[in-house]
Subunit: 199 residues, 2 copies
């Protein structure tokens, strides 16, 4: 016999499938939902339904979009001559929050990883090259993750567009602001040295 | 302009309201849901709906129940002469998992805390006394939390049933099994001394 009534066990089990929610959190969340007002739980249920029914990839940049194109691609104030290339849609939020970037994006859908079976044709690389060719892109900022697969992906893309008249850049590596030099790993510190700038 | 399409922002916001889910986890979970199969998200939405529509407090013990009474109260194999008193429904799971207990439960719905405005009439204490009176309860095991409010609640209940022919016990305090004496706090260690047993 299960410890809790079947609908409770079912909710705990569904919640446990979500990332970063362990069995204890799932139970705590389930009990919170049971205690809270019915409207709150139904609002979450409706938000789940809506996101699955209305959200699809932007046909231009593969960011999440409610219609055919995402809000950023549709925004006439964005600089259409610059494309920032990211692995996932959720890399866009942090970049937008810097307030430093006013160009467009291109979401690859992951990073190259032959060992995991992720080949160039599994990512939206061909579509990116096509955009650079057709949209008169001046600069391609490669903002893949600063790790092995991300950097391999950036190198691959740089190769793919080498014949096109586009400037290709990558985000700087270095010490995180507010971080402590004592605790920096040696690869980051090495990059910080290599990329040191004049003051 | 929000960073993500409106339905995505809405889902992130609804997820952020849940306990132990910060804004970053909410975003991670939302993107997981967007990536995952539609059926999975709808199963969670349905589980939320079902739990709000089908779960109510057991009319006997105030555990969570799908019908009028919870599975434990309905189970004929449980010892009906013993009631274990807990603060919340989610205290039942850990006790059930010990496999040590085969009696019934009574969920108080919290602990006495006059400073927070939780008075005896806010908890299911009167119903507990009524049960002890009517169900021929032999033993009441007070398993409120081992903290100030939990222990005050246990003391209050012990007083309330002192005229009734029922044995009143409380869970043992002491060193956690697998714990390290060196790191035990002094209150726990003091309790472990006071409750020491013959070997």
């Amino acid at each position: 016999m299960a410890t809790y009534a079947r609908p409770v066990e079912r909710l705990i089990s569904e919640l446990s499938r979500l990332p970063s929610i362990g069995p204890r959190s799932a139970q705590r969340i389930a009990f919170h939902i049971i205690r809270s007002r019915k409207e709150e739980a139904l609002a979450l249920a409706e938000a789940l339904r809506e996101v699955k029914e209305r959200i699809r990839p932007c046909r231009r940049c593969f960011n999440l979009a409610e219609g055919e194109e995402c809000d950023i691609c549709r925004d006439p104030r964005r600089d259409r001559g610059v494309i920032c290339v990211v692995e996932d849609p959720y890399d866009i939020g942090p970049i937008e929050r810097t307030g430093e970037y006013r160009g467009l994006y291109h979401v690859l859908g992951g990073a190259l990883s032959p060992l995991d079976g992720v080949e160039p044709e599994d990512l939206h690389i061909a579509e990116l090259v096509e955009r650079v060719r057709n949209e008169g892109t001046r600069e391609l900022i490669l903002a893949t993750n600063p790790n092995t697969t991300g950097e391999a992906t950036a190198m691959f893309i740089a190769q793919e567009v080498r014949e096109l008249p586009v400037r290709v850049t990558a985000l700087a590596s270095g010490l995180p602001v507010g971080g402590d030099l004592e605790y920096a790993d040696e690869v980051t510190l090495g990059r910080a040295f290599a990329g040191r700038r004049e003051l």
